[in-house]
């Protein structure tokens, strides 16, 4: 790893600056522009626009790009701030008061309104309705699901605009543009594969691309195809975040239940990422000690088949890792895909070929296939390189086929 400046998420770096850069959802974008234009002739009938659709397809990005194009200033709240009756009123008040003093026109945006909760954000939703009723400037609401019963009144007074998942072609094109700007030569098949896996979520596709391609000159299908076995990434990234930055031991342990990945795989993810998040040496040693204990119990489970060990595996890999350090984030750190899994997930044919080679060597040398691969194959490989003629004769004596010999040579590179 280089120690250059901390990486910027590509989702930020390549955020659209103008509506023309936003991909997909052409009809919806047209509808929004029309609505915003209608404000130039006075306050329209529908004073609020309600944009909804699944995550990561450009709802917020569209609004921000639009504000740029129309030279408007956005007054925005999202789920990261409390939205009680009080704060909503104050925000809206600020927006309408300052409106005439500066050159820029204003736009009120309530992002992620699914996240407004009944308890912490008391009175927030009804205050938003009041803001819309009284507003002199455009209001935009954004949510994943517009059909939540809580939004019934909001729906009635808003113009609904749906954003749909992006097509594989659209996402692929976007990824290709980013690669071009980053100077990465990418196989289209590789980009298409990432796009397909994102199920129309361009944000997760871009984050995937960054995790796989950053710092590389080339991105091939082989670099990405192993992902096939992997689960939805935002899920795993969330789980990792919940573990590394856990607020309590219980919440760290709960993260495991959220994950749709198996414990084995999650352990590999945590193991891979510890040194990127935990840098202080004593803390790093403690965290590695914790994950190595989880690994020990995993080994014992496998040896004995006794599932009571599972609880200790989970304790150590979650709470054990979390409480080995101060859990203070130092900037945005991307999660890395586990190297161990990458190497282990050679294609099925490769694994079978290797196993068959091991079996044949093992038969001659009184070894199991796996031990033959570890104890004999490395030497045969070196002999094949240093003295191909001798190596090939030994290989034939071991009953290896020409195809197998070629495979061995290639594998060592």
């Amino acid at each position: 790893m280089s120690s250059k400046s901390p990486p910027v998420p590509w989702t930020l770096k390549y955020k659209p600056k103008s509506l023309s850069e936003v991909i997909g959802n052409e009809e919806s974008k047209k509808k929004i522009i029309e609505w915003l234009r209608s404000w130039e002739k006075g306050v329209p009938e529908k004073k609020a626009l309600f944009i909804y659709g699944p995550p990561g397809i450009g709802k917020t990005a569209t609004v921000e790009a639009l504000a740029n194009d129309f030279n408007m200033e956005i007054i925005m709240t999202d789920a990261s701030t409390y939205r009680t009756e009080e704060t909503v009123r104050r925000l809206a008040g600020r927006a309408s008061q300052l409106g005439s003093l500066f050159g820029k026109k204003k736009l009120i945006v309530f992002d992620e309104i699914d996240g407004i909760t009944g308890t912490a954000d008391t009175g927030g939703l009804s205050e938003i309705i009041r803001v819309i009723e009284n507003t002199r400037i455009p209001v935009i609401l954004i949510a994943n699901d517009a059909w939540d019963p809580r939004f019934a009144s909001l729906r009635n007074i808003s113009l609904l605009v749906e954003f749909k998942r992006l097509s594989v072609t659209e996402v692929t094109k976007h990824l290709a543009r980013i690669c071009a700007k980053e100077g990465i030569i990418a196989e289209e098949k590789a980009l298409k594969f990432i796009a397909e896996r994102s199920s129309g979520d361009v944000r997760s596709a871009v984050l995937d691309l960054q995790a796989l391609a950053q710092g590389k000159d080339r991105l091939t299908y082989d670099d990405v195809s192993w992902l096939a076995a992997r689960d939805r990434k935002e899920e795993i990234f969330n789980v990792l975040r919940m573990i590394f930055y856990a607020k309590s031991a219980t919440s760290a342990k709960m993260a495991v239940n959220m994950a749709d990945v198996d414990i084995d795989m999650l352990l590999e993810w945590i193991y891979e990422n510890i040194p990127y998040h935990i840098k202080n040496p004593p803390e790093l040693a403690a965290a590695m000690d914790a994950i190595s204990k989880a690994d020990l119990y995993r080994g014992m489970l496998k040896e004995t088949g006794d599932y009571t060990f599972l609880r200790y595996i989970i304790d150590w890999m979650t709470a054990g890792v979390a409480f080995s350090w101060s859990r203070k984030a130092t900037g945005w750190v991307p999660f890395k895909f586990p190297e161990r899994v990458k190497t282990a997930s050679a294609t099925k044919e490769e694994r079978e070929m290797l196993e068959e080679i091991g079996r044949r060597i093992g038969k001659r040398c009184h070894l199991s296939s796996s031990r033959a691969i570890v104890e004999v194959l490395p030497y045969l490989t070196i002999i094949l390189h240093n003295n191909p003629k001798m190596g090939k004769r030994i290989a034939r004596w071991l009953n290896l086929t020409d195809e197998m010999i070629e495979f061995i040579m290639k594998r060592a590179g």
Binding site: L284, M288, C365, R371, L398
Partner: protein
């Protein structure tokens, strides 16, 4: 030079040809003389002659056609209970023709058998002991269930002493017309440490270049995983770069096929040569021992060794702190 692996070409065929392990050989010879063999467990590290001893015993017992009287199974490849129930049973059930009244079943890597399969094996051993005797071969006899252990005569194989290994190397070099220097022999012993299979593999690999086998050649050809690289990995960790040290570890294990136990052995040797305070040497030796123990319990080599590297990072950090 021949075109087979020297581990096979020079594998002893009779008990008389066995290298070292004198006590074991004496006991096995007495079995041959009595024409009776109890169930046995051959336990010990790799490359110390366990499988060879079993095959030699069979040879001396049954003569040149010994293959007809034995079955060699590898439990890692066929570890399931069905193999025990079917293959083993079918073999064990019938009496052989000839002087010796039982067949010999050699079960290699028996410590990789599942508990269920071991339970099934225990019954089979009891029921057919008239017609079949079992030799169980394992690295760790502790992984074989108690009831089987108590039915077997234990044989503990140990690493071959350096002198015996050196003599074997010289003997083979003479036969193969390979020129080898004293430091070449030392280098091979350093890398293989009493594991004869590994010794011969390294020797043959170095010799395959056609050049005289010197220490430099051994490290350059096979060694790639030579002590200097292990030391380099440790120093990288001591200097605080854990990620780089972990990448080195990955290189050592993956590219060069170095086994975790080899790395541990070399790490252990290096720790006491490092320029660090003695209390840290002891602490690190403790962690190394713990790692070794955990690997026996089925833990993952890379993860355990990484934890050790992180401990080195901490050691380096504490040392710097105390200097300030």
């Amino acid at each position: 030079m021949g075109y087979e692996l020297w581990t096979e070409k020079y594998r002893p065929h009779t008990l008389d040809e066995m290298i070292d392990q004198d006590e074991i050989v004496t006991r096995l010879k007495s079995f041959v003389k009595a024409k009776n063999v109890p169930h046995c467990i051959f336990a010990g590290p790799p490359g110390t002659g366990k499988t060879t001893a079993a095959l030699c015993l069979a040879h001396d017992l049954y003569g040149e056609n010994y293959r007809e009287y034995i079955m060699e199974l590898n439990a890692s490849d066929e570890r399931g209970i069905n193999v025990i129930r079917e293959t083993v049973k079918t073999f064990a059930r019938t009496k052989p023709i000839g002087e010796v009244s039982f067949k010999l079943l050699i079960l290699d890597e028996a410590d990789n058998m599942t508990d269920d399969a071991q339970q099934a094996l225990r019954r089979t051993m009891e029921r057919y002991s008239e017609t079949a005797r079992f030799i169980l071969i394992a690295n760790y006899s502790g992984k074989i269930i108690e009831p089987i252990q108590s039915r077997c005569a234990p044989f503990r194989f140990t690493y071959l002493p350096a002198e015996a290994v050196a003599n074997r190397i010289k003997y083979i070099c003479e036969r193969e017309k390979v020129e080898i220097t004293d430091d070449g022999i030392e280098a091979i012993i350093e890398l293989a440490g009493g594991d004869l299979r590994k010794t011969l593999n390294i020797l043959q690999t170095a010799a395959s270049t056609g050049k005289p086998v010197t220490a430099d050649l051994v490290y350059a050809v096979v060694g790639k995983a030579n002590p200097a690289e292990i030391r380099d990995m440790m120093l990288t960790a001591l200097n605080g770069d854990f990620i780089a040290a972990r990448n080195k570890l990955r290189e050592l294990t993956r590219k060069y096929g170095l086994a975790g136990t080899d790395i541990i052995r070399q790490l252990h040797g290096e720790v006491f040569r490092l320029n660090i305070p003695d209390n840290w040497k002891v602490k690190l030796a403790d962690v190394i021992g713990e790692v070794d123990y955990r690997l026996v319990r089925g833990a993952t080599e890379e993860i355990q060794l990484s934890a050790l590297l992180a401990k080195l990072v901490e050691a380096g950090y504490e040392m710097k702190k105390s200097l300030r």
